[in-house]
Amino acid sequence: MSNDINVNPGLRESATFDRTTMHEIRRAAETGIYDIRGFGAKRKLPHFDDLLFLGASMSRYPLEGYREKCNTSVVLGDRFAKNPIKLDIPITIAGMSFGALSANAKEALGRGASEVGTSTTTGDGGMTPEERGQSKKLVYQYLPSRYGMNPDDLRKADAIEVVLGQGAKPGGGGMLLGQKITDRVAQMRTLPKGIDQRSACRHPDWTGPDDLAIKIQELREITDWQVPIYIKVGATRTYYDVKLAVKAGADVIVVDGMQGGTAATQDVFIEHVGIPTLAAIPQAVQALQEMGMHRKVQLIVSGGIRNGADVAKCMALGADAVAIGTAALVALGCNHPMYDEEFKKIGSAAGFYDDYHEGKDPAGISTQDPELMKRLDPVAAGHRLANYLRVLTLEAQTLARACGKNDLRNLEPEDLVALTVESAAMARVPLAGTTWVPGQGF
C-alpha cells in the first residue's frame, strides 16, 4: 500500500515496480542511454545506525564529559615517510576534484579543514593554487588519468594518495561531462574544451600489486622519501586488497565503502557495485591484524559518514581516521533548502539534487558556471565546515568518554552491539542483548 496520503488507500504500489523504478524504465525507453548522476548509493544499506555503543556502568568506568581529556589526534604515515602527517582530529576531507567542484568550493574545503587541523585531498584534475594555498595539509591524488600530474605539485604535497578505486564506482574511472570542461578545467587536464571526459579506470603504466610496489618506490624516490604514500581502494574484496596494499608498501590505506559519493557516474554503478562501509572495515582490520600491521599502517575509512557516532563507530571497529566527502559538501551548502525554488526549475528539489554532472548546482558547489560559483563564499562556507568538523569531533569524544576511553583510538569492537542480524554479521559484533556474532560460532 502506498504511504502517500494523497493516494487512494485502496491502491497498492508494487514493491518491485515502484514509481521510481517505473520512471527509470520510461526514461531509459525515451533516451536510450543509462542514467548518469552524482552523490552516492541511495538504496538502504546496513549502516552505522544499526550499531549501538555499550556505555560504561558497573563493569566499565566512564570519563567525565567536560573535565577529562579524550585525545583526537592521529599520526598518519609513519611507516616509511620522513614527514608523516599529524592531524588534530581524525576526520579528513576526501578527494574531490577541481572540475567536479568549483574553485570556491575547493578553497572552502581547504579553509575549513585547516581551521581544525586536518587535511584535504585533491582529485582527478590536479592541484589548484587556491587549494594548496588554503590547505595546510594537502593530500595529492595519483589517479589513472594523471590529469595535471607533475613533479612540482607532487613535491608540494604533504602526502600522496594512489587511487585504485572509489566506493561509488569500484572498477570505474572518473567522468566529467562537457558542461563542466571550461577553459581552465580543459587546460589543467590537457583536453579539448567541452568534451565529455571519461577517465581511465586502470593506471596506464602498471598492473597488479607487484608493479604497484615498484610504482610506490618510484613516487618515494621522486619525493626523496619525504611524504607518506596512501593507497585508496573502493570496498569490494577488501580483505585481499588491504593485504596486497600493505605488501606493496603503503603507509596508509583508505577504504571507501559503497555509500561514498561521486561527482558523476552511472546510477547502475553507484547502486550495484561494492560493499557497504560497515562490511568493509572488519575485513580491512582483519587483514592488517593478520599481518601485524594494525596501527602501523593506518586505516582511513570513508563512505556515508554523517555524524560523530559514525566517526566513533568506525574507530571502534578499528579505523585510525575517517574521511568525509558528501557530508562536507552539505556543510558547505550543498542541497540547501534556501535554493529549493531553483532546484525545482532544474527538475530536482533541495535534499534530492544529485545531477552534479550537469554543472547547474544552484548552491555554486558542483559547478563551473561563474555566476553560480559566486554564490559560495569560501570564507563563510569554510567556517561552516570547520564548525561541522568540530561537532563531529565533540560527538565522537562524548561517546568515547561514555565508554571510558581517553583516546578515540581506544574505542574497540567490544564497545559495540548490533541491532540487526545483518549488521552483526558484517560488523562482527554481537546482536544486542546476546553474545551471538553471526558467522563467528557461539
Binding site: G32, I33, T190, P192, D205, W206, I214, E218, I222
Partner: protein
C-alpha cells in the same frame, strides 16, 4: 663527470645525488655503471643534466623527468620516461610497454622497438620510435606526437584525443575513433622537425598520418556500439 657504479651504490644514492643538483647545479654530467635492470633509475630529475646509463634499466627509468637528457645504453623496462615534463630520454635498445605514458612534454626517442601501449595517455610529449610499436599504442593520447618508423600493432590510437600519429610501415588495425588523415604540408614540416630532433634519417613523405575522428568526444546514443 660523476660516476655511480650501482654494484656499489644504491638507486637511492643515485637519485638523491641527481636531485641535489636542482637548487644549485655543481655537476652536470653523470654516468651510471652496472644498472643491471634496476627500477626507478634517474627518476624525478629537475635540472639540465646529462645522464648516461650504461646498460639495461628496469621500470620507470627517467620517470617525471624535467630538463635532463637521459640516455639508456641498453633496453628499458616498463614506463620509461613516464610523465616526463621536459628534456630528452633516449633508449638505444628496445623499450617495454607504456613507454612515455602520460608524459606532458620533452622528447622520447626509442632506437629499437617499443612494446604495447607506447604513449598511452600522452599529454604533450613527442615520441619517436625507430622500430615498431605494440598494440594499443597512443591509447587515450591527449596531446603531442607519436612517430613510428616501423609498424604499429592492433588498435592504434584507440579513444584518441589530439595526438598527431605518423607511421611509416603497416598498421595492423586502428582503435575506436582513430582514422587516417590527409598528410598536408604542415604535417610534412612537423614530421621533418620531429625526425631531425630525434636524429632519425627517414623520408617524411613515406609516412601516413592518423588522428582522432572526434566522433566520440561527447556521449551520443548513436555511438553506443563503439564503446
Amino acid at each position: 663527470m660523476k660516476t655511480f657504479d650501482l654494484s656499489e651504490a644504491t638507486v637511492r644514492d643515485l637519485n638523491q645525488a641527481l636531485h641535489d643538483q636542482s637548487p644549485e647545479c655543481v655537476e652536470r654530467e653523470f654516468e651510471v655503471l652496472n644498472p643491471k635492470g634496476q627500477h626507478n633509475l634517474a627518476c624525478g630529475i629537475d635540472q639540465n643534466l646529462s645522464v648516461d646509463i650504461k646498460g639495461h634499466a628496469g621500470y620507470f627509468c627517467a620517470g617525471m623527468n624535467q630538463k635532463a637528457h637521459v640516455t639508456i645504453h641498453g633496453n628499458a623496462g616498463q614506463g620509461v620516461a613516464e610523465n616526463m615534463m621536459s628534456g630528452t630520454v633516449r633508449v638505444k635498445g628496445d623499450a617495454s610497454q607504456a613507454a612515455g605514458a602520460t608524459a606532458h612534454g620533452g622528447l622520447l626517442v626509442i632506437e629499437g622497438n617499443a612494446g604495447a601501449r607506447c604513449g598511452i595517455s600522452m599529454k604533450g610529449v613527442d615520441i619517436v620510435v625507430k622500430g615498431s610499436v605494440g598494440h594499443m599504442s597512443c591509447f587515450m593520447g591527449q596531446a603531442g606526437s607519436l612517430v613510428v618508423c616501423g609498424d604499429a600493432g592492433d588498435a592504434l590510437g584507440d579513444s584518441l584525443y589530439e595526438v598527431h600519429i605518423y607511421v611509416k610501415g603497416s598498421v595492423k588495425s586502428l582503435g575506436a575513433d582513430c582514422v587516417e588523415k590527409e598528410m598536408r604540408d604542415e604535417h610534412i614540416t612537423e614530421l621533418t622537425e620531429l625526425l631531425n630532433r630525434a636524429g632519425v634519417d627517414e623520408d617524411p613523405t613515406q609516412f601516413k598520418r592518423y588522428g582522432s575522428a572526434r566522433q566520440l568526444y561527447n556521449f551520443k546514443v548513436d555511438n553506443v556500439s563503439a564503446y
